[in-house]
Amino acid sequence: MPGFVVKGERDQLVKDRMAAFGEKVTGITLEGDLICVHVKKDTLHDLLRTLRDELGFNFLTTCCGMHHPGETQEFGLVYHLHNMRAGHRIRVKCRTTANDLEFKTATDLWPTANWMERETWDFFGIKFQGHPNLKRILNMEDFPAFPLRKDYPLEDPTRQDKDDRFFGR
């Protein structure tokens, strides 16, 4: 990938390469100033590898889970990748249903994905196939829930004196 080109052209490079994935890439959107690739679950790992090896996105900035209750594709993963040489960032999104919560691990591409994926497992219950040490990281080992799912209450549910309508959401 050529070095310093203007941002629109860099986005175009990504778009051109993504065309090879055909219908596996379900959409390419511009969210704010960041290009975002939506990909089907079975192609996620290949896509990340392509982005890393062919388009120079060799730095994994974040990987985090998402939960959209009430939608068929209820759970999601969001990756932020960074091409430091070209100063180009990209967001990769992948969605899945609640009964299919197993992704391929990205630890073979970036060792740093290790703890990010453990955090995602810890908080969302999303599993990563092939992860070397997939166990809870910030919560205690026998914690009974996945706390960042939207159905996990923040307040103690037995309390009567707090009305959620007055406290944020």
């Binding site: 974040t62 985090c64 060792p111 910030l138």
Partner: protein, 411 residues
């Protein structure tokens, strides 16, 4: 050299091939004075040499990401304070800028430069802590006690700006709640004038100190390639020779207007990390000086925020005497301000590296999802690789030079 090659016959029974070593399991932490925070390392030792480490973290996990989903945007800075509590203002500003990016607010230059001043002061305070503690853990208490006064002087500036010292909750979305007082400017000028002598004194004690150099050179090294693979950012990455700095790569808050260099190291060892932080303090002082000069030249001394009454609480006297401020006050306190639907990722150069905020807004009064990219959390996972095969005492130094802050580790 910290890595000791042991002859094979120490480890194996040459006849039967059994493991003859007597291994020790040692708990380093959770509350150990050398960890400077609450996290645990279960070390497997062969004598004094580290063979393996199992890290346990999460002792002060406070679920900020979950809490943030139930707090209006303007209440979230108090959560960010408590991540890297050695440089809270950077975290605060990072969050303000994230929301401003979502809302499309542009700040007047004066407000941006005031932010730059505060962020660079915070960086100095952060690096002072880290560097003096490297000395402390190597057995040099004097520099720690000498240089800590500068951190105290910086905290006095915070105190004058916002009333708090450690968890600052400084500034507002859209700029500043009030102008800096004369005392703030006096104190900043005093630091610019007096700190170079103090820093020089500190460097005299450690930088070319034979004992310190022997102790830190080649201690916990990491190559630039591995550092990138492990997601290192900030001074730790730059010590490995990669010149990535968010202030230059993705300039925010007017950093593009300043002239400064990004110090890089070569070997990625403890000494390089120390030196990179040391140089960054000098650069920070220079940035503050440049910002002060720019502010002095500005004719406009009052515009400290964008025109966003929906994010900055109006002065109390106006709330009690006029209708519109009263309405805004009520709306802000009840979190009734309209927010667009959208997603933003914004990052700032924190004391430890790229501090990122991934904010998903569904138009509600709180974020739908907020993810913090905490640099500590991400680079601390490289610790086992960095200390494997080295001495236990080197592991302590490596940890302090990585500047692992428990609050940022656990969020």
């Amino acid at each position: 050299m910290s890595t000791v090659e042991k002859p094979d016959y120490w480890q194996k029974d040459l006849v039967q091939g059994r493991d003859l070593r007597e291994l020790t399991t040692l708990n380093l932490g959770p509350t150990h004075p050398a960890t400077h925070g609450i996290f645990q390392n279960v070390l497997t030792l062969d004598g004094e040499i580290i063979l393996d480490t199992e890290q346990t973290i999460g002792y002060i996990h406070r679920a900020f990401e979950k809490l943030a989903e139930r707090r209006p945007f303007y209440q979230i800075p108090t959560l960010t304070d408590r991540m890297n509590y050695c440089s809270s203002p950077i975290n605060n500003m990072g969050w303000h800028m994230t929301v401003e990016k979502l809302l499309g607010i542009e700040l007047p230059k004066r407000a941006e430069y005031m932010r730059v001043i505060v962020m660079e002061l915070a960086r100095i305070a952060d690096h002072v802590i880290c560097n003096t503690i490297i000395g402390q853990d190597a057995g040099a208490t004097t520099p720690f006690l000498y240089v800590y006064q500068w951190r105290e002087r910086i905290y006095e500036i915070y105190e004058e700006i916002c009333g708090a010292r450690l968890t600052t909750n400084m500034g507002r979305i859209g700029g500043w709640d009030r102008n800096f007082s004369d005392l703030v400017w006096q104190r900043i000028r005093a630091i610019l004038k007096e700190m170079p002598a103090g820093l020089k004194e500190f460097e005299k004690m450690l930088v070319r100190n034979r004992i310190f150099m022997d102790r830190t050179i080649d201690c916990g090294p990491l190559s630039g390639e591995r550092a990138l693979a492990y997601g290192f950012t900030g001074p730790n990455l730059r010590a490995c020779g990669v010149d990535y700095d968010v202030r230059v790569a993705d300039p925010y808050s007017g950093y593009q207007d300043f002239n400064f260099i990004i110090p890089v190291g070569q070997n990625g060892d403890t000494y390089d990390r120390f030196m990179v932080r040391e140089q960054e303090m000098w650069e920070s002082l220079s940035i503050i000086q440049q910002a002060m000069d720019k502010l002095d030249k500005m004719s406009d001394k009052t515009s400290i925020r964008a025109d966003v009454p929906e994010w900055v609480l109006p002065p109390k006297e106006e709330v009690y005497s006029a209708m519109e401020p009263l309405i805004w006050h009520f709306k802000i306190v009840m979190g009734e301000t309209a927010v667009p639907v959208g997603e933003v990722y914004h990052c700032v150069e924190g004391g430890n590296g790229e501090l990122g905020f991934y904010l998903v807004s569904d138009g509600g009064r709180t974020p739908f999802r907020l993810h913090f990219r905490r640099p500590c959390y991400i680079y601390y996972q490289a610790y086992p690789e960095m200390i494997k095969g080295g001495m236990l005492s080197d592991a302590i130094l490596t940890m302090s030079s990585m500047n692992v802050i428990a609050g940022e580790l656990d969020a």
